[in-house]
């Protein structure tokens, strides 16, 4: 009975009860551990599944975006070509520049009424150096559009307008040039704008900004 610590201190509680775990507790713990392990395995599977799904989604989206961008780029080039063709043809020979000839926007704008399913923006920009010449109907991007003409010194500026796709965001004027022509495209408040002329690109950008 007389047991001591190695240092000589007595072990008073040596004979106190050693409480052994009941068998039922052992069984209960094993069950709960197994359940927990299954849960964790499932959670891990979900996590990896989720990551895989996320990757697939990103891949699909990137592909779509790339595809859309490529398609959009192609379409933008085609459209620029259409704009150029419409502008040049309107100026050729006995061309068809205007159906309504007026420097008065209050004459030009109402002329489109009933001819188009939207109201084009027509402004008097004479103070900025762009005098209104008139307007006509044209056909671009598979739909009837408004073509408004302005004169800048001896040059004609054609401005094409038509409704943008639903939900399309505004886009700032962007300049490009094709065969000596300057083209500026922008989108604002639901309308697509294409301006084209043989004037300087910077002048045409200025025109675009004056219209906005």
């Amino acid at each position: 009975m007389a047991r001591n610590e190695p240092g000589g201190e007595p072990l008073i509680a040596r004979d106190a009860t050693y409480h052994r775990a009941p068998d039922a507790l052992r069984a209960r713990i094993r069950t709960s551990l197994a359940a927990k392990a299954r849960e964790e395995t499932r959670a891990t599977a979900w996590r990896w599944g989720g990551i895989a799904a996320a990757f697939a989604t990103v891949a699909a989206l990137s592909w779509n975006v790339a595809f859309m961008q490529a398609r959009n780029a192609d379409e933008a080039i085609l459209l620029a070509r259409e704009v150029e063709t419409a502008h040049v043809r309107s100026l050729m020979g006995e061309g068809h520049l205007n159906d309504v000839i007026s420097t008065d926007r209050h004459t030009v704008k109402p002329w489109f009424e009933g001819k188009l399913d939207f109201a084009p923006v027509v402004l008097d920009l004479a103070p900025a150096g762009y005098a209104l010449l008139g307007g006509r109907l044209d056909y671009l991007d598979g739909r009837p559009v408004a073509a408004i003409t302005y004169r800048h010194r001896l040059h004609v500026v054609s401005l094409f307008e038509w409704p943008a796709e639903r939900g399309a965001r505004d886009a700032a004027p962007r300049l490009q040039s094709r065969r000596g022509y300057a083209l500026v495209h922008w989108r604002r408040e639901g309308l697509e704008y294409w301006a084209i002329s043989d004037i300087d690109g910077s002048d045409l950008l200025q025109f675009a900004h004056a219209l906005r």
Partner: protein, 180 residues
């Protein structure tokens, strides 16, 4: 699932030690079972970070779980211990067992104290002293292991043991006197 098998092989053999500590700290079968079950679930969560021996590692988790349980259910039992300085001379002068004393009648009396009486006296010890005595004398952990489980310096383990034993001895003696 391989992880579960490893956990069961390394940690489940120490279930008795876990239960013994929890039972001494909660002083109640039912609560001890709940605490131990929860501690095992926690242990499995932290298993990948286990270092060294499984038994002290598991007991540290069991002890933490017990303390959380005590804080919630019996906050009154968690008194801060003043480990300041029971200096060795004091402890020894108080402790007649400090020197070899097999012939001392008091020792013989104490050693004949029955298990029930020791159990009762130990259960009534403040938890901070009770746990070091349980780990040292019933569970046979080394000072170093106790220090690791309780998160205190080895010197504190030793001083708490000395003070705890002194308190326990007095409690047993007074119970014996009352009984006789």
């Amino acid at each position: 699932m391989a992880r579960l098998a490893r956990f069961e092989a390394q940690v489940l053999p120490h279930l008795d030690a876990a239960y013994n500590l929890a039972r001494w700290l909660t002083r109640n079968d039912h609560d001890a079972e709940d605490v131990v079950q929860e501690a095992y679930l926690r242990a499995m969560r932290y298993f990948d970070g286990m270092k060294g021996e499984a038994r002290p590692w598991l007991l540290a988790i069991v002890r933490n779980t017990c303390y959380t349980w005590l804080e919630k259910n019996r906050p009154g039992e968690l008194v801060a211990l003043d480990d300041a300085a029971p200096n060795v001379a004091d402890t020894q002068s108080l402790n007649p067992f400090a020197s070899p004393s097999d012939g001392n009648p008091e020792v013989i009396l104490l050693q004949s104290a029955n298990r029930k009486l020791v159990n009762q006296a130990l259960e009534e010890l403040p938890v901070g002293f009770r746990e070091v005595i349980v780990m040292r004398e019933i569970e046979d952990l080394s000072y170093k292991e106790i220090a690791a489980v309780a998160g205190i310096p080895i010197g504190t383990v030793m001083s708490r043991l000395a003070r705890g034993r002194e308190m326990l001895k007095r409690a047993i003696e007074s119970r014996m006197r009352r009984a006789s």
